[in-house]
C-alpha cells in the first residue's frame, strides 16, 4: 500500500522541482552566452514524456512483486520490444549528438565510430546471447558462476559490472548536465539532480519493466525524429546522397578531405585497439546483457538481437546523413555561430553555438523550426534518462543479486529482501551518480565511455566467454585473468595521454596508445588460460568435471526452463 502513496507524491515533487527550476533559471539563461533561450515547446514535450513514463512506472510498480518482475520484467517482453529496448540502450544522447557532431566536424571519421559500435552485435548473437539465456537468471554473473565458485566469481562479476556502470554513468551524467544546461537554459547542478532523481524513481519503483518501457518509448521517439531529419535533408537534395556529399565538400573548410579517413585515426594500433574495445565490449556491457533475461526464451533472445542490429544500423546511417545535412544547412548560416571577434572570421567547425555536439540540434531548427527543435531537445533529454536508468538497474542488480544474495547472505536471502536491497542500491547509486556528475563537471570525461567498453571487453567478456566455452576454465583462472584484465585496462587508461597528461598534467604518457583493449584483452585471456592450467586443486578438477552438465544446458536449454519460470 505504501508504495502507491509514495509515488504520486514523488511525481508531484519532481514536477514541481523541475518546473520551478526551469522558470527560475529562465532569466539568467537569456543573458548567459553559452545557454540557449528558453524553448517552451521543448519543456512542454519533456514534461509530457516524464509524466507518461512516470505513469508507466506507477503501473509497473503495482504489478511488480517478485524478483523476476524486478530484474527481468517477468520475462514478458517480446523479441521485437526487447530489440527496441536494446537499441535504445545503445542509442544514447552521446552517440546521437556525438557521432552526428563528429561527422559534422570531420565527415568520414564519424562513420568509423558508428561501425565499431554496431559490429559488436553479431558477436553478441553468435557467441553469447543463447548461452546467456540458457544458463542465467538475472545477471551475467549467474552464467559465469554457473559451475565455478559462487562467492569469488560473483565478486569479480559485480566488480566488473560496477566499474563499467560507474564510468558509463559519469560520462552520461556530465554529458546530460552540459546538454540540458544548453538546451533548456537550466543550471548544471539542477540538471544533474533532476536526471538522477528521475532515474532513481524509474528504477526503484518500476524495476526492469518500467526501465524497459521508458527505453522503448524513447527509442521510437528518437528513431522517428532522426528519420524525419534525415528525410528532410535528403529531400532537399532530391534524395541524391551524391548531391548532398558534393554540396558538403564545397562548403566544408576541409573540403574533399571529409570524404576520406582523417586525423582521427593517426595511429593504427590505437585504431585497432579501439575497434576491439567497441566490438567485444558490447558483449560485456552488464546493462545490455541483462536484457536477454527479459524475454521468454532463446528464440526471442535471438530475434531481439536481430531487430536491435537493424534499428542500430538504421540509426547510424541516419546520424551520418544528419551530420552531412548539418554541414550543408548550417555552415553558411552565421546565425548558428558565435560572432567572431572584430575583424576575425567564423570558425565553421568549432565556432558552432554550443560546440560541434550541437550540430544535430541546430539542424533540427533548420529543417523543422522551433517546434521540431523543441521535440529533438526533449528527445535528447529523454534519451539520457532512459540510458542512465538502464545503467542504474544493472548496477543495483549486481549489488543485490550478486553481492548481497550470493556473497553476503550465501543464497539464503528471501526474494523480498533481495528486491528491497536492490531498490535501496538504486537510490544509493543514483545519489552517488548525482554527486560524481557534480564533481566531474569541468573534467574531460570523453575517455570514460571508451574506458567502460575497454573494461567490459577485458574483464566481463573474457570471463563470460571462457567459463561457458572452455572446459578447462577454473575459478582461479577466471579470478586471475578477470582482475588482470580489469586492472590493466584501468591502469593503461590512467597512464595514457588523455588522463596522465591532459587531466593530471604530467609531461609524458607512459602508455603510448589511446585505447588499452588490444593489450588488456590479451592479458585477460592469457591470464585465464595460464592460471586455469596451473591450478591443480581438487576444486579445479571438480569444476572441469562439471563442465559437461553446463555444456548440455548451455547448448540446448534443457534444465533451464524449470530454473526460471517467470
Amino acid at each position: 500500500m505504501r508504495r502507491r502513496f509514495v509515488l504520486p507524491l514523488t511525481t508531484a515533487a519532481m514536477l514541481g522541482v523541475a518546473g520551478a527550476a526551469a522558470v527560475a533559471l529562465a532569466a539568467p539563461a537569456v543573458e548567459g552566452g553559452g545557454k540557449q533561450g528558453l524553448n517552451l515547446a521543448a519543456i512542454l514535450m519533456f514534461f509530457a514524456f516524464v509524466a507518461g513514463t512516470l505513469f508507466i512506472t506507477y503501473r509497473a510498480a503495482q504489478g511488480s512483486k517478485s524478483a523476476a518482475d524486478f530484474y527481468a520484467a517477468g520475462g514478458g517482453i517480446t523479441g521485437f520490444q526487447n530489440g527496441l529496448a536494446i537499441a535504445g540502450d545503445y542509442m544514447s544522447a552521446a552517440s546521437f549528438l556525438g557521432i552526428s557532431g563528429l561527422v559534422f566536424a570531420s565527415g568520414f571519421d564519424g562513420l568509423i565510430y558508428s561501425i565499431g559500435f554496431l559490429v559488436g552485435w553479431p558477436i553478441v548473437l553468435f557467441l553469447v546471447a543463447e548461452r546467456l539465456r540458457n544458463l542465467g537468471k538475472f545477471t551475467f554473473a549467474d552464467v559465469a558462476s554457473f559451475r565455478l565458485d559462487q562467492t569469488q566469481i560473483r565478486i569479480l562479476s559485480a566488480t566488473g559490472t560496477l566499474v563499467v556502470v560507474a564510468f558509463y554513468l559519469i560520462a552520461q551524467m556530465v554529458g546530460a548536465g552540459k546538454l540540458i544546461e544548453l538546451l533548456f537554459g537550466l543550471d548544471y547542478g539542477w540538471a544533474v539532480a533532476i536526471v538522477g532523481a528521475l532515474m532513481i524513481v524509474y528504477v526503484a519503483f518500476g524495476g526492469m519493466k518500467a526501465t524497459t518501457w521508458v527505453q522503448i518509448i524513447k527509442a521510437c521517439l528518437l528513431l522517428g525524429g532522426a528519420t524525419f531529419m534525415a528525410l528532410a535533408v535528403l529531400w532537399n537534395f532530391g534524395f541524391s546522397p551524391e548531391a548532398m556529399f558534393s554540396e558538403a565538400v564545397r562548403i566544408h573548410p576541409r573540403g574533399d578531405a571529409i570524404m576520406a579517413p582523417g586525423g582521427l585515426v593517426a595511429d593504427p594500433v590505437s585504431t585497432i585497439s579501439l575497434g576491439l574495445a567497441l566490438m567485444f565490449g558490447t558483449a560485456g556491457l552488464p546493462h545490455i546483457l541483462m536484457r536477454f533475461f527479459t524475454v521468454s526464451d532463446a528464440q526471442a533472445a535471438r530475434k531481439s538481437v536481430f531487430y536491435a542490429t537493424g534499428f542500430i544500423a538504421f540509426f547510424y546511417i541516419l546520424t551520418f546523413i544528419i551530420g552531412f545535412g548539418a554541414i550543408t544547412f548550417l555552415m553558411n548560416d552565421p546565425s548558428y555561430y558565435t560572432a567572431p571577434a572584430a575583424g576575425g572570421t567564423v570558425n565553421k567547425i568549432t565556432g558552432l553555438l554550443g560546440g560541434t555536439n550541437m550540430a544535430a540540434v541546430h539542424l533540427a531548427n533548420a529543417v523543422g523550426g522551433s517546434l521540431f527543435l523543441g521535440f529533438i531537445s526533449a528527445v535528447a533529454f529523454a534519451t539520457i534518462l532512459a540510458v542512465v536508468a538502464g545503467l542504474t538497474l544493472a548496477g543495483a542488480s549486481a549489488v543485490s543479486h550478486d553481492l548481497y544474495a550470493e556473497v553476503i547472505a550465501r543464497g539464503r536471502a528471501s526474494e523480498r529482501r533481495e528486491v528491497n536491497i536492490s531498490k535501496a542500491s538504486a537510490v544509493v547509486i543514483g545519489i552517488v551518480a548525482i554527486f560524481l556528475g557534480y564533481v566531474f563537471e569541468n573534467q574531460n570525461v570523453a575517455f570514460m565511455v571508451g574506458l567502460a567498453f575497454a573494461v567490459a571487453a577485458s574483464c566481463n567478456f573474457p570471463v563470460l566467454l571462457m567459463s561457458t566455452m572452455w572446459k578447462g576454465c577454473t575459478t582461479f583462472g577466471a579470478m586471475v585473468g578477470g582482475f588482470a584484465g580489469l586492472v590493466s585496462a584501468v591502469m593503461m587508461v590512467v597512464f595514457s595521454k588523455a588522463v596522465w597528461v591532459q587531466t593530471f598534467g604530467f609531461k609524458e604518457a607512459w602508455f603510448p596508445y589511446d585505447n588499452p583493449a588490444l593489450f588488456s584483452m590479451a592479458i585477460a585471456f592469457f591470464g585465464i588460460w595460464l592460471a586455469s592450467k596451473s591450478d591443480a586443486s581438487q576444486r579445479a578438477r571438480d569444476e572441469v568435471a562439471s563442465y559437461d552438465a553446463q555444456y548440455v544446458r548451455s547448448e540446448t536449454g534443457i534444465g533451464a526452463a524449470s530454473a526460471h519460470i517467470h
Partner: protein
C-alpha cells in the same frame, strides 16, 4: 535435470549434430564479421589513399561505400544466423528434448 542425465544427452547423436553444426556455423559467421570489420579498420589505418578514391565522376568515396557495406553486412549476418537458428537448430533441439524426455 537429474544428475548424470547429461551423459545421456552428450552421447546422443542428435545433440552431437546440433552442437557441431551450430558451433561451426556461429564461429564461421563470427570470423566473417571480424574479418570484414578488421579489414575495414586496417584499410582505414593503412590505405587512406585507397579509401579516398572516388566512385565514378562524383565526390562519393570508396571509404563511404565500404563503410555502408560493413553496416549492411552486420545486419545481414545476424539475419542469416537467426533464420537458421530459429528453424533448423530449434527443430533439432525440440527433437532432442523429446527423445530424452
Amino acid at each position: 535435470m537429474v544428475q548424470g542425465d547429461h551423459q545421456r544427452v552428450l552421447g546422443n547423436p542428435k545433440f552431437q549434430e546440433l552442437v557441431r553444426t551450430r558451433s561451426s556455423f556461429a564461429w564461421t559467421l563470427a570470423a566473417a564479421m571480424l574479418a570484414i570489420y578488421l579489414g575495414f579498420i586496417l584499410l582505414v589505418a593503412f590505405a587512406r589513399d585507397l579509401m579516398a578514391v572516388k566512385i565514378g565522376d562524383g565526390v562519393t568515396s570508396l571509404g563511404i561505400v565500404l563503410g555502408l557495406v560493413v553496416i549492411v553486412s552486420a545486419f545481414l549476418l545476424t539475419g542469416i544466423y537467426v533464420q537458421r537458428a530459429n528453424s533448423r537448430f530449434d527443430d533439432l533441439t525440440r527433437d532432442l528434448t523429446k527423445e530424452i524426455a
